[in-house]
């Protein structure tokens, strides 16, 4: 199963913000992290990731700088800003609403247990 394009696009911002909330990171690592998180089901491309990062930077949600960690190449690292944290919180509220609504309609009260296993509160 591959997740549809629209859904990938819609979830892109909260995913990237969430990953950057864990720690500052660079493009390739972010893409790998998304792959890990979704077990390869989210089909992300560089054409989605980098313009998105640039857009978030323009909106002030993230800031970037070129760093060279010892023994590594010079890389452009992205870090979440205050505005980015606020945006992440807002996104989480909206997604929680969407997920609640979906759960309400798809799951009877009986088998709700399987989904509550997904932690709603991340490490933000």
């Amino acid at each position: 199963m591959k997740v549809g394009k629209d859904l990938v696009a819609a979830s892109a911002t909260p995913l990237v913000l969430g990953i950057l909330a864990e720690e500052e990171s660079y493009g390739y690592a972010i893409l790998k992290r998304i792959n890990e998180l979704s077990a390869g089901e989210l089909d992300w491309t560089e054409g989605l990731l980098y313009p998105l990062l640039h857009r978030l930077e323009r909106l002030g949600c993230v800031e970037s700088n070129w760093q060279s960690v010892t023994g590594e190449r010079r890389r452009k690292y992205y870090r979440l800003t205050e505005a980015g944290l606020a945006e992440l919180a807002e996104q989480r509220r909206q997604w929680a609403t969407v997920m609640d609504a979906l759960k309400g309609i798809w799951l009877g009260p009986g088998d709700r247990g399987t989904l509550t296993a997904i932690p709603l509160e991340g490490r933000a």
Binding site: G27, A29, G47, W66, K76
Partner: protein
């Protein structure tokens, strides 16, 4: 293949890939750096998994998807990049160079602005009557050397060229001031018109630097002239808005800045504008599409239609052309415009393209202009033999003959081009080869005409 060889090949492949990315306007060098880092990350991982370097590179590039798709995504986020910006500098070296250009340009523009006011120190104020007599022939001498200087500096012109430029400007100064020209004489007006043309072609020498023998460089100068003119007009429009606003705003608080505007803002602004326009053309050379050829394309059909309508009207009513002096000048200007339309479409034409409808249209334009001009010339020659000649008539007639000569041969070459007998470059060479004729004529009109007509 050893690991080192593999690494070298990988670097070569990455360099090539960067070249492809570099051609995309949507992606700037920092983006390319970022994407390259991504590719390297991907390659490293694949190499760790046991692939060799070039296999890994192929897969990594393939995963990234086509550059077209990638560029499209970048364009959606950075649409402003598709609009070329003036301060677009690719590398730190180019950045430093353009900043140095900017400084020298500012210096030259300030120099031009001050030069225009400098005569005031010697009592030649812009508002008294003597001013018109002095500024008329001298204004180009005060301003154009700064533009030539800027261009010569930018081209790092040789000493001999700089010496030649200085000598020509000095010759211009002599022509403008050594002759005893009366205040309202025709010769004064003729010098005022022709000296700027002669000096503009001297600027051309600075622009072309060493390449003034080459047809391509001359064509570049023709392009430069057209773009310079357009920038200058645009800046004049902006200056007009600035002037209107200054006047209005200060009037509102009871100060009338008439004096300041007429004495300082307009003359200094125009003088500086001459240099700034030259700098803009140099700086934006590769940044905007040339606008002169676009205007040419728009107006060639319209002018052709008007000229044909005029010819038909002349034939229909069998009215002769009333040849006053103004009429002669008007038709001179018409030839200049036709020549300009021809020049700027030549300057933008792909030399290898086969003749198309536009070339035929141009032929029609030139031929109809020629037909009109022949009618005018016949009438004028009649009048001159009847009433004798004046400097004005002689100059107008001489210009007419020069332009006519150019256009007749151009028409012939255009006909050959349309019939695929003559290659396009012949036409281009003809036009660029004609530049010295204009220069010679402008110098003759300023240097020889006044004594010839006893300073009338």
């Amino acid at each position: 293949m050893t690991a080192r060889e593999g690494q070298e090949e990988l670097e070569a492949q990455l360099a090539q890939w960067r070249q492809y990315v570099g051609r995309r306007r949507e992606m700037r060098p920092p983006d390319a750096d970022e994407l390259e880092d991504h590719l390297r990350g991907c390659v490293d991982e694949l190499v760790e998994a046991g692939l060799n370097a070039d296999e890994a590179f192929l897969i990594a590039v393939k995963r990234m998807g086509s550059l077209d798709d990638l560029a499209r995504e970048f364009a959606r986020e950075h649409s402003e990049r598709l609009w070329k910006q003036l301060v677009l500098t690719a590398s730190p070296a180019a950045d430093a160079r353009s900043r140095r250009d900017l400084r020298v340009m500012a210096f030259c523009a300030a120099g031009a602005a001050l030069s225009i006011k400098a005569p005031e120190l010697f009592g030649v104020s812009l508002d008294n009557n003597a001013a018109a007599v002095f500024y008329g022939p001298n204004v180009s001498l005060l301003v154009l050397p700064w533009l030539a200087g800027f261009l010569a500096w930018r081209r790092q012109a040789r000493r001999s060229l700089i010496g030649m430029l200085a000598a020509l400007f000095a010759l211009g100064a002599v022509a403008a001031n050594a002759y005893p020209l009366a205040d309202r004489s025709q010769s004064l007006i003729i010098t005022s018109i022709h000296l700027p043309i002669a000096l503009w072609l001297v600027v051309g020498l600075a622009y072309m630097a060493d390449g003034w023998g080459s047809s391509r460089r001359r064509m570049d100068f023709i392009r430069f002239t057209g773009e310079w003119f357009i920038y200058f007009v645009l800046m004049a429009l902006g200056g007009g808005v600035l002037t209107a606003f200054t006047t209005g705003a200060f009037k509102a608080i009871g100060i009338v800045p008439q004096e300041f505007i007429a004495q300082w803002l307009l003359p200094c602004g125009a003088a500086a504008g001459v240099v700034v326009a030259g700098w803009l053309v140099e700086a934006k050379q590769s940044v905007v599409e040339n606008i002169a050829p676009v205007l040419t394309r728009l107006f060639t059909p319209l002018f052709t239609a008007v000229l044909l309508a005029f010819l038909i009207a002349v034939g229909w009513t069998s009215n002769g052309i009333d040849v006053e002096r103004q009429a002669l000048i008007l038709f001179d200007l018409l030839l200049v415009i036709v020549l300009g339309l021809l020049l700027y479409s030549i300057s933008a034409r792909d030399p290898l393209a086969p003749p198309d409808l536009f070339d035929k249209l141009q032929l029609a334009l030139v031929v109809s202009a020629l037909a009109i001009d022949v009618l005018v010339l016949l009438a004028v020659t009649g009048r001159i033999t009847e009433y004798g000649t004046t400097p004005n008539k002689a100059a107008a007639l001489g210009e007419n003959v020069i332009l006519l000569g150019n256009l007749v041969w151009s028409a012939w070459l255009l006909l050959g081009l349309v019939r695929r007998r003559v290659p396009f470059t012949t036409l281009e060479r003809w036009q660029t080869g004609y530049l010295p004729v204009y220069a010679a004529w402008a110098w003759i009109a300023t240097l020889v005409f006044p004594p010839l007509f006893t300073y009338a």
